[in-house]
Symmetry: C2
Subunit: 225 residues, 2 copies
């Protein structure tokens, strides 16, 4: 496991600020095939199966998830650390969207309210340090609350299977000038160790499959606080 340098988190946020327009178009125009065929529906189903009352969309991006489940009787709050994406999410008017990065959320969890029985992080846990965030979330959830984390399935990435910083060039996105994003790769074993360190209980692993290959498109960790 390689420790990233100190500017890792700020470079991560900067890349999303730079890519906000391109990313918003990619999501809203359905350009990412695996999301369209598999991972959008997988996280929606995982959320609806739990029938939450009040849910926090952690790293909500341009807000597609809240929009898509706006009429399901769930009180949503979105939190997004990238101002340009938070602004996009706010346009829909479907929920309160707060511009807060994870460092701010760790410092003052109650800035996003409380009483959540569900926290969802949909491909939004790219940071190297997540333990303080998980500990902070404890302060704003109800007893029995769930955490749903959808992430890249660690086994589907090539290269050495070792936790550490990686780079995403968005080359697969085709057109547009994307800024490279640093992100932190975690093995399955390290995901579990992280949850355990935060005293979170893994209930199940969901591995939604790509219809064309029947290989995992992502990993959804269903976790109890």
């Amino acid at each position: 496991m390689t420790a990233p340098d100190k500017s890792f988190e700020s470079k991560l946020l900067e890349s999303w600020q730079a890519n906000a327009e391109l990313w918003t178009s990619a999501i809203r125009e359905g350009k990412i095939q695996s999301r369209e065929t598999t991972t959008h529906a997988a996280i929606q189903q995982a959320i609806l199966a739990f029938s939450p009352n009040k849910a926090l969309d952690l790293g909500c991006g341009e807000g597609w998830l809240i929009r898509s489940l706006a009429n399901q009787g769930i009180e949503w709050v979105g939190v997004e650390g990238v101002p340009a994406l938070a602004e996009k999410a706010r346009e829909s008017g479907k929920a309160e969207i707060l511009t807060l990065n994870y460092a701010a959320l760790v410092a003052e969890p109650h800035r996003c309210g409380g009483g959540f029985d569900l926290v969802v992080a949909n491909f939004s846990l790219l940071e190297a340090e997540l333990l303080p965030l998980f500990l902070g979330l404890r302060k704003i959830v109800t007893p029995g609350a769930r955490l749903l984390i959808q992430t890249l399935h660690p086994c589907t990435l090539e290269g050495p299977y070792l936790s550490g910083p990686r780079s995403e060039s968005f080359a697969a996105m085709g057109s547009g000038t994307w800024q490279t994003m640093p992100w932190y790769f975690r093995t399955l074993g390290d995901w579990l160790d992280l949850l355990r360190a935060a005293d979170l209980k893994l209930l199940s692993l969901c591995e939604p499959l790509l219809p064309e290959t029947l290989r995992p498109a992502s990993l959804i960790l269903e976790v109890a606080f």
Copy 2:
């Protein structure tokens, strides 16, 4: 998930009986590279890290694991459902080796004694139905006991990522006339569901890496009863 036919478990045992001589040679002559470089040491380390007093080697095969840790102050009992392999394991005289298949163990768990603070299943859970076995093991372990399961890492196998019966031809073993073995493939998610159904708690996942590729050689599930 496809349900195997009723003769699956008996064909599995038959294949090991037929392959017992070839398998014993393969293990004792160190012919399986991933075991030599990685998985033998990984399970040994996981066992020693727990410092057990009395351990059950579940599906002990020709007995290499017990032999290799015979001088570590652990009281070992080996259980093996394939008579020809149990006989090989008994040759070393390092532990009590019982010829019992899992069905017999489920029916009468105390036939292998009791008071185990560790149960190890090293590449030996190939059956379709494991829940009755896990429930049976509960009756012969001490409070706080651990279960260590080393298995093929589900992500490293090609083909549709779906739990179900598969066949192993042992083609990679080179010479010798091997009998094809039926075995049951489980996804990660299904391993976790199985543990949860048996009220077993997954503590950690160890993913030992092949030194030449730095990709997982196996998966070790560290579980608490």
